[in-house]
Assembly symmetry: C2
Homo-oligomer: 228 residues x 2
């Protein structure tokens, strides 16, 4: 199997990569790294590169990188997550103020580019690490979005590219459990979740709060360092 | 009404712009010009700019330009239409060899960016000039694509951006009839349809053949010059 995944450098897409890496029959994993002009792009990119380097160092399927720079295009969009937007809100990941971090059209733009690449490389499946914790705030991570995206991809090209979303109904704690069962275990110390543009993760934004809650739920210490 | 349209510089999107320009209640027309790395990009862009300049010179709604450079991203895709692809096929626009001119994911990528812009600018509707002549070769111009794209946009953002495709069941001849009835009539002498990278339109590619057939059907002379 050859597959295309979106790799953000966060713990969910890292787990997606980790589970595919040991899945029997996987031949090639094409990782799409998107720079969409977020405040935390530098840290995300670094994490994504380290993850690819990690899997490159292990026996297994080929891991291929595709870098897409959408920063100029998406700098015109409105979101607190973007360099052109207001400050990152702090609080719980289900709080209403986290809606400021929605990036208009983000997943549809990613999916459409991944599908175009899939068709061009004769690859049948693309995959996203969206999960149930995203459903509260991000419309483009909800089941109804994924289902309708499957239909639009089916009709967009005669090659009928498939969209997988294996974590759609899992929360971050379940994803961590999966990742720790992988061989090799997913190197969460290399991942980056925080929305802020600073070396140490803040521990206070919605994204950090959800990650910390997940590690708490599985009684493990998060291996990354936090500011507080 | 404020609306976002994709403006390629061809006769269909020019007619879309022309019909919206005189539609009562139109306040702003945002024209998205996409460079997707096609061979004929230089001529398309020039046509699109001339069209915007033409409407700017007439009393009516504001016409705003948004330029998006997708050439680096889409240069990795496979299509004869791209600078990175093989030669442009010649023949009738319904011929099977015209499938080489399909650009993977093109309309879905355009729509997803237009929808992100719409959400960011608080605009409710985006519009495409796809028509029935496109249905034979281009999956992403067919009704089933447009219908499923409407659903995915509905679920992609809470603002529920609408996708209009007013020419979906019209052929190019009907579109021309609409355009000549506009006030001002659509300036077809400024439009560019040919797929080839040359100043004069070739008259032989699928795109030229369809255009010439349409002018023939309405008994008018195509006002642009052809090579042959």
């Amino acid at each position: 199997m050859r597959i295309i995944v979106a790799l953000s450098g966060g713990m969910d897409s890292a787990t997606l990569l980790g589970t595919l890496f040991r899945q029997s029959g996987t031949k090639e994993i094409h990782c799409c790294i998107f720079n969409y002009g977020s405040k935390h792009v530098e840290w995300e990119m670094e994490a994504a590169r380290k993850l690819i380097h990690f899997y490159d160092g292990h026996d297994g399927p080929a891991v291929i990188t595709h870098f897409f720079d959408l920063s100029t295009i998406m700098s015109r969009f409105k979101s607190a997550l973007l360099q052109t937007g207001g400050p990152i809100p702090e609080g719980h990941y289900k709080d209403v103020n986290m809606k400021q971090t929605v990036v208009p059209g983000r997943n549809l733009i990613f999916i459409s580019i991944m599908a175009g690449l899939a068709e061009s490389l004769n690859i049948k499946t693309i995959s996203l690490g969206v999960h149930s914790g995203d459903h509260f705030i991000y419309p483009d991570c909800r089941p109804e979005f994924i289902y309708s995206a499957r239909w639009v991809l089916h009709h967009s090209a005669e090659t009928r590219v498939k969209l997988a979303a294996p974590f759609l109904f899992l929360n971050k704690a379940k994803i961590l459990e999966l990742g720790y069962k992988c061989n090799p275990p997913v190197p969460y110390e290399l991942t980056r979740t925080c929305y802020k543009d600073q070396e140490l993760s803040c521990g206070k934004c919605g994204s950090c709060s959800e990650r910390l809650e997940a590690f708490g739920q599985i009684n493990r210490q998060d291996p990354i360092q936090y500011e507080a």
